[in-house]
Symmetry: C2
């Protein structure tokens, strides 16, 4: 804990685990995925995260049945403190600013303009708390041409080139199945918050950081963009399961008896070892196929040769042979296989916690820190910790809290 940030709540007050961010208090106005994933990662690093929701709860809290919080909400909000607060009421805004005076970070991913309309934009927050880091997730970012443009995972996938580059060349474009854009924004927003906290150690000043979903996903198109630029603009938009820049071969998902298997040959040895496995030393010896560029020119023939070999094997046997030969490969697993994977389970990425009505699966953190453990914890009910936070954090009396409740501010 940094004693120079006077007024910061002490981590033991709210019982957060020790960790890299012990003592750091985050106010979470996040919705759906990008904002809540950012604060999920911050919580996993030991920050105290106070999730502030409107009276109806945030958009994905009730997504599933309406009766209990949905599984997606429970996965992403584990271990946060739950506060219900109506920011549209003047008293609600005042209460929020009181919390800001004791916080280190505010995370929000509202549509453009919402923070200002609520009277809690950067200028206001910075004046109230000069050491505050405000982290804003946006679809396209603060730019005149993007003014008022809201976006969510699938629309940003469409705008940013993910959809046009996914799928088979002769079929309709298709989005990436997972919400890759939302989560890319969330993980980058986490980096921006952490960099600003580190910088604050030197400068003593907070800052406003912003991540646009579109910016966060464009780097993933590096292979595709490089292919397009190197080809001078004449390049296939979609390459199916082949390399996005058509710069590597073999690189595909091949049929096996009981499903599919991905194989790629990045280094020369991968290619010659694969040829050895296939009993095709003639291919390994062919000088025209000795370089990636040479193999890309013959990729139809090479993929046919690899498929002819994989078709005679089942998934497990093909994977075993390729692993033993140190050729990069992997079976296409079903989602049911994935969620029961012992590696993911042992690493804490998916954990079942709670009992009865509150039994659920929670998400872990990909940030495996040598000195900062990330214990699993349940997500809060809507407003579950409102009183505790107002009492311990703002030192409010039961009478004041009761009055706020009567007036439907909390």
């Amino acid at each position: 804990m940094n004693d120079s940030h006077a007024g910061t709540i002490r981590e033991q007050d709210l019982g957060s685990p020790r960790g890299a961010l012990a003592g750091i208090v985050v106010l979470d106005l996040g919705q759906v995925y990008a904002g809540p994933y950012c604060t999920h990662l911050l919580r996993s690093l030991g920050a105290t995260v106070i999730k502030i929701e409107p009276f109806g709860g945030e958009p994905i809290r009730w997504r599933s049945s309406g009766a209990t919080s949905g599984q997606a909400f429970l996965m992403l909000n584990a271990g946060k403190k739950g506060v219900r607060l109506d920011l549209k009421k003047p008293q609600g805004r005042d209460l929020f600013l009181e919390l800001v005076r004791r916080a280190d970070v505010v995370v929000e991913n509202f549509a453009p303009g919402v923070m200002d309309r609520l009277g809690i934009g950067w200028d206001v927050l910075h004046a109230v708390r000069p050491t505050l880091v405000l982290a804003s997730g946006r679809a396209y970012g603060d730019h005149p041409a993007a003014e008022g443009m809201r976006g969510m995972d699938v629309t940003v996938q469409a705008m940013s080139g993910v959809v046009t580059t996914t799928g088979f060349a002769d079929q309709a474009p298709v989005k990436a199945g997972p919400a890759v854009v939302d989560f890319a924004a969330g993980s980058h927003l986490t980096s921006a918050v952490l960099a600003a906290l580190f910088q604050r150690e030197r400068t003593g000043e907070g800052q406003h950081v912003e991540v646009a979903m579109q910016d966060a996903i464009v780097p993933t198109l590096t292979s595709n963009i490089a292919g397009l630029l190197e080809a001078g603009g004449d390049f296939p938009e979609r390459t199916g399961n082949r390399h996005g820049g058509l710069a590597v071969c073999p690189y595909n998902i091949y049929p096996v008896i009981d499903g599919w298997l991905a194989i790629l040959c990045l280094r020369p040895k991968h290619w010659t070892d694969l040829c050895g496995l296939m009993g095709r030393d003639d291919l390994a010896d062919d000088p025209a196929l000795a370089t990636p560029a040479g193999r890309v020119l013959k990729m139809d023939d090479i993929d046919d040769a690899v498929s002819a070999w994989t078709r005679g094997l089942d998934k497990a046997e093909a994977f075993r042979l390729l692993q033993a030969a140190d050729v990069p490969a992997a079976p296409v697993r079903s989602l049911n296989e994935v969620i029961h994977d012992p590696v993911l389970r042992d690493r804490g990425m998916l954990t079942e916690i709670g009992e009865g009505e509150r039994a659920c699966t929670v998400l872990g953190s990909p940030l495996q820190m040598g000195d900062s453990p990330a214990p699993a914890a349940p997500a809060p009910l809507l407003g579950e910790d409102t009183e505790e936070v107002l009492r311990t954090f703002l030192e409010m009396s039961p009478e004041d809290i009761g009055r706020l409740r009567e007036e439907s501010v909390i």
Copy 2:
């Protein structure tokens, strides 16, 4: 800059820009995407990044033509210092450890076991430099069941559930077009490094942090996993362009005269406003369609109704109408449209720099920091800065540098 880390090179020595990580020195052993993207983000925050490559250069340096560094390499290694060093020679290892004694962070994403075989595993580095943060990118992470398992983007997409959830239900599975797994690992590794640097401010100690590619991509499957868990295991693996958890409708990519357009209705008002645009108040008034769950039950009918409307419009007109009504929507853009997008260009995500043979496009950073600018810069030639780094960083004499060169250590 933190004076307590004695021996750390001062940022002005190597001319890095001022920024959140000014004064922080990163040794980059990264290859291809995950490691180099992490150090790209750290460089954009003002760190001095020294990229250490073997004599042949890292795997993607020559990917394209073989004559000049490929565009993918140039995009991801902008602004780094280039050092050529043979880590397999004892003198090369010694030189690396001398650099480690003056560094804050080492980033590597070798296959499991390589760092130990090179004699530069965590125990060695930590003993040499107790304040060092070692950041390791892996495919599946340090786990007995994953021992020796190497992985790259497409194989981890296959293993982790990205492939099985991407594409149309009645067609072969297809990978996400962009390298979403590599970059998810890179952005999370950045967060882990930054959290460890922040923690070091309090503890004075470094630590070993690790991110597995599989762990980094599994959170993006939150909708899909929630859908599967809530359905008790009986759930479609692939939902095409529909919501991965089938929890939102309308949510699809619809045909327009000249292409495709994504639309989703997250909030009730989005749905009623869309109905208004379509001239279908009968749908808006239908109580069976008033909730997301109700609409999901009729999603074929609803998608037909939306398609019937979009088919009569071109991309620009449909987008204009939906934007004006504040319904989340976006055209499916081609990659050529994306790379010339003025918003991305103005935000510095893609910038053309250099002249003649060194003209290229470099990638910016999604981390928009209020107080930490990220100027564009060219990537180094292989070993371009070897002498400068040894001279300024290790204070080596021209004679010693000459000897290392003769012995092919550098």
